[in-house]
Amino acid sequence: MHMPPWFWFSMIVLVTWGVVGLLQKLSTNEISAESALIWLVVGFFVIAPVFYPGKVLFASPVRSLAYILASGALNAVGAWALLAAMKSGGKASLVVPLTALYPLVVVLTAPLILRESITLLQTGGVVCALAAVVLLST
């Protein structure tokens, strides 16, 4: 059976990020959340050269560069909080799906910050996400 390229790339996402959820718990079983985050950043730098775009990077608008750097910093704080949640006794099977509900914040703030409108379906997603937060936290 022939599968299109997007399918295989999507499977890579599913498998790598799924395994990441497991590794986050395994790492915090062994070391502190702070150390786990520091080594996670080392992991990002191991693979970063693969993505180096060349000199074109320095021609990018400063504002866009600042946004991306700030997004990396916020991602790191979020990753530390996730690792701290697992270190504090949170089960991987609860913390991973709970923290994956972060689009809830995006959907609620996008109209204000990005001037994007929320669809009826996304409103339904907000309701489902809030129900999931309550149920997963029981």
């Binding site: 997007w6 999507s10 890579i12 996402v13 599913l14 790598t16 799924g18 990441v20 497991l22 590794l23 790492s27 915090t28 062994e30 070391i31 502190s32 702070e34 786990a36 985050l37 080392v42 990002f44 970063a48 775009p53 990077l57 990018s60 608008p61 866009s64 991306i68 750097l69 700030a70 997004s71 990396g72 910093a73 916020l74 790191a76 979020g78 530390w80 909080a81 701290a84 949640a85 949170g90 991987a92 099977s93 609860l94 799906p97 709970l98 994956a100 509900l101 972060y102 689009p103 809830l104 995006v106 959907v107 703030t109 996008a110 669809t119 997603g125 489902c128 999931a132 309550v134 029981t138």
Partner: protein
């Protein structure tokens, strides 16, 4: 019953993660208008660096030497970055964006299956219903 979790540290750390990752997504969206996906992925590591350095300073530059923990954490970073690259690559193939987004948004459920198989974690019926709601939310957010 939910009040029990609301008193738990892990729940509030998780909520902090949700807020930070929400902000991360918005900033990444604002920045990606003029910067390619690969360049964003490259810069991303540099954005994470100051946070790692602050945490390192907080530990007075003393690192734990547990090899297993270090291996799991570095692998965590490498796989996270590969997953991010694969997501951009999937979008670039010209496949249906909505389908790709929905399929990849299911990674938490794969993580749950792994946690049950490898870590032998068990879920209550309410947790399973919560996962169904979460899966529905992932799909709805994708459109």
């Amino acid at each position: 019953m939910a009040l029990v979790a609301f008193r738990s540290k892990w729940f509030w750390y998780s909520m902090l993660c949700v807020v930070c990752w929400g902000g991360w997504t918005i900033l990444a969206k604002l920045g990606s208008n003029d910067i390619s996906a690969e360049a964003s992925q490259f810069l991303f590591a540099w954005g994470m660096l100051p946070v790692a350095l602050v945490l390192l300073a907080g530990r007075r530059f003393r690192m734990e030497k547990n090899r297993k923990g270090i291996f799991y954490s570095v692998a965590n970073g490498v796989l996270s970055a590969i997953g991010g690259w694969a997501l951009f690559a999937a979008y670039r193939t010209g496949g249906n964006t909505a389908v790709i987004t929905v399929v990849t948004a299911m990674y938490p459920l794969f993580a749950v299956v792994l946690a049950m198989l490898v870590l032998h974690e068990r879920l209550t019926k309410l947790h399973v219903i919560g996962l169904v709601f979460a899966a529905a939310a992932f799909v709805m957010f994708s459109f």
